[in-house]
């Protein structure tokens, strides 16, 4: 048993292990980690994500985030209130932290929604082609004629401003983007010779789609997911800023900015903090997306 001098005795795993190499996934990781900006992006995003997940441990929601406390209104930064308080005496730091939770989860659900709908539509259009492709893409073209912001506003206008409607509005308005990117990557991969090669060895359509097409489409879609996540976060705060999204006293960066406007002349920190939070989330996601794009780019693989 112990002898592994001949091929006969060696099992499959033993040989595979003997010549073990880096998988493409590991190589992508290495390329990603080498990219300094991408690492900065992922660190910033990790901090924001941490705040969002553990917001309740960092600051109590009921006492610090939503409770009115007129006695302590409009204070500057202090030991008790790191970023001061707003016009209702609520702790700005606590609101920014809890705002991360709002933005991230709504953004996440909205992105997932649009990926789901757009992905399915794009995949159908790409796989089946012909009239169904024509139909889906014409509808997407029409939707693209309406900027995402305006479409989202129209949906909120019709359905009313609340969390569910906002998810719907942001999710649906980003469907065309996903549909297009998924369709084009499906088309590219479908045209590759290795897909025909799989058919030539008798693979079924299902196997081809799962093993060869989808796996190879993943790269550009992942990149797009990060970028659309960023745009969803921006949309949430934009809608809330306009008063069409999350309503105060619930903490949201956009509505914080909107509320802070009237006092910004004397208390500029009120607009600085939530603005920086929006900026950093989008910035980090964009860096992440760019880093992923570079790491996944087959051209750099040589």
């Amino acid at each position: 048993m112990g002898s592994n001098t001949t091929t006969e005795v060696l099992t499959r795993n033993a040989i595979l292990k003997q010549f073990k190499k880096k998988t493409p996934m590991q190589e992508i990781m290495i390329r990603f980690v080498r990219n300094r900006m991408a690492v900065v992006g992922i660190i910033i995003f990790a901090v924001i994500l941490f705040c969002a997940i553990f917001a309740d441990f960092i600051c109590d929601y009921d006492t610090m985030v939503v409770k009115l406390n007129v006695a302590e209104r409009l204070q500057g930064p202090s030991a008790a209130h790191w970023l001061g308080t707003d016009k209702s005496g609520r702790d700005v730091f606590a609101r920014v932290i809890h705002g991360a939770r709002t933005s991230l989860w709504i953004g996440f659900v909205a992105t997932a929604l649009s990926l789901l709908i757009g992905g399915i539509l794009g995949a159908i259009a790409g796989f089946f082609g012909k009239w169904i492709d024509e139909l889906i893409m014409r509808v997407m073209d029409v939707m693209l004629c309406l900027p995402e912001m305006l479409l989202a506003m129209a949906i909120v206008a019709a359905m009313g401003a609340n969390v569910v409607n906002m998810i719907l509005a942001i999710g649906i308005s980003r469907v065309p983007r996903f549909a297009r990117i998924v369709r084009s990557s499906v088309l590219t991969v479908r045209g590759m010779e290795y897909v025909e090669a799989a058919r030539a060895i008798g693979a079924r359509n299902g196997t081809i789609i799962a093993r060869h097409v989808l796996l190879n489409c993943l790269g550009p879609i992942i990149v797009q997911v990060t970028l659309i996540f960023a745009s969803a976060i921006l949309a949430i705060s934009s809608l809330s800023f306009l008063g069409l999204g999350i309503q105060p006293p619930a903490p949201e960066w956009g509505n914080m900015l909107s509320e802070a406007r009237e006092n910004m002349r004397d208390f500029p920190h009120l607009v600085l903090a939530p603005g920086m939070a929006i900026f950093l989330s989008i910035f980090s996601l964009n860096l992440l997306g760019d880093g992923l794009r570079d790491a996944l780019d087959p051209k750099l693989k040589q």
């Binding site: 073209d141 029409v142 305006l150 910035f283």
Partner: protein
Amino acid sequence: MIKYILKRLLALIPVILGVIFIIQFILYISPNDPAVVILGVDYTPEGAAQVRESLGLNDPFIVQFARYVLDLLRGDFGNSYVTGEPVAVQLAARFPNTLILVVVSMTLCTILSLPIGIQSAVKPNSWFSNITAALGMVGIALPTFWLGLMLILLFAVHLEWLPATGSVSLTGMILPAITLSASFMAGTMRTTRSSMLDCLNQDYIRTAKAKGVSHHDVIDKHALKNALLPIITVVGVNVGTQMGGSVLTETVFSYPGLGIMLTNGIKQTDTPTILGCLVVMAICIGICNLLVDIIFAFVDPRIKSQYSKRG
């Protein structure tokens, strides 16, 4: 060429009809009752029924859609539920303001970002290229409305150089235009840079160099003309996105344009106003796309010859 333009123009019609259809459908399925908006405190079930009947809201959706389109052809956008005035009047007053803002900001954005993008592509590893790339990353991530607020703080509140409120005047336009163009500037710059870089790596650039074409002409005559195609597309798409972005900018600066009208319309659930604003913006964007297609045909001989031969 004329045939090409006509063909594009015809293709625009179903797109605009489609946009109107989508917007109207979204508003149609809304649970909001227009009668409540119109009657306000005078609301009675009978009165409401009468209002609905007179507005034709009991008709099937497709009839309402057809009626709206037909009215639109006569320039009739319906009357506001809140004020009862024709929406068209309001639109006529507001739309030019938004258009001016978008045009100014577009121009600003293009004038600044094209040369920067080209320069940073020509010298891809220089400090200039690195700094502008970093600025671009920051610019893209800046939320428009926050940037607007910060600019007000700096230039209106602290330095007191410019008014905090936007208006259709030289000084009143500066801050809104900068705000609106900032994020697009970064995007246009990045596209210019990457499409220039792409073109500079093409074989025909090597051919041009081998001919003895000077460095300057290689960039101006050979690379730029090819790089222009994706840039034009992005600038075209920007117009649409800027229309969307103008809603936020106008709100920040209380600039009297379509954006504020739209936001107010939504808050008051004033359907004809919402519909009117969105339709005007969509038509505007459609026309922009048409212009891009036409410019494309002039720049790209592949489209031009396709039509000149058989047209």
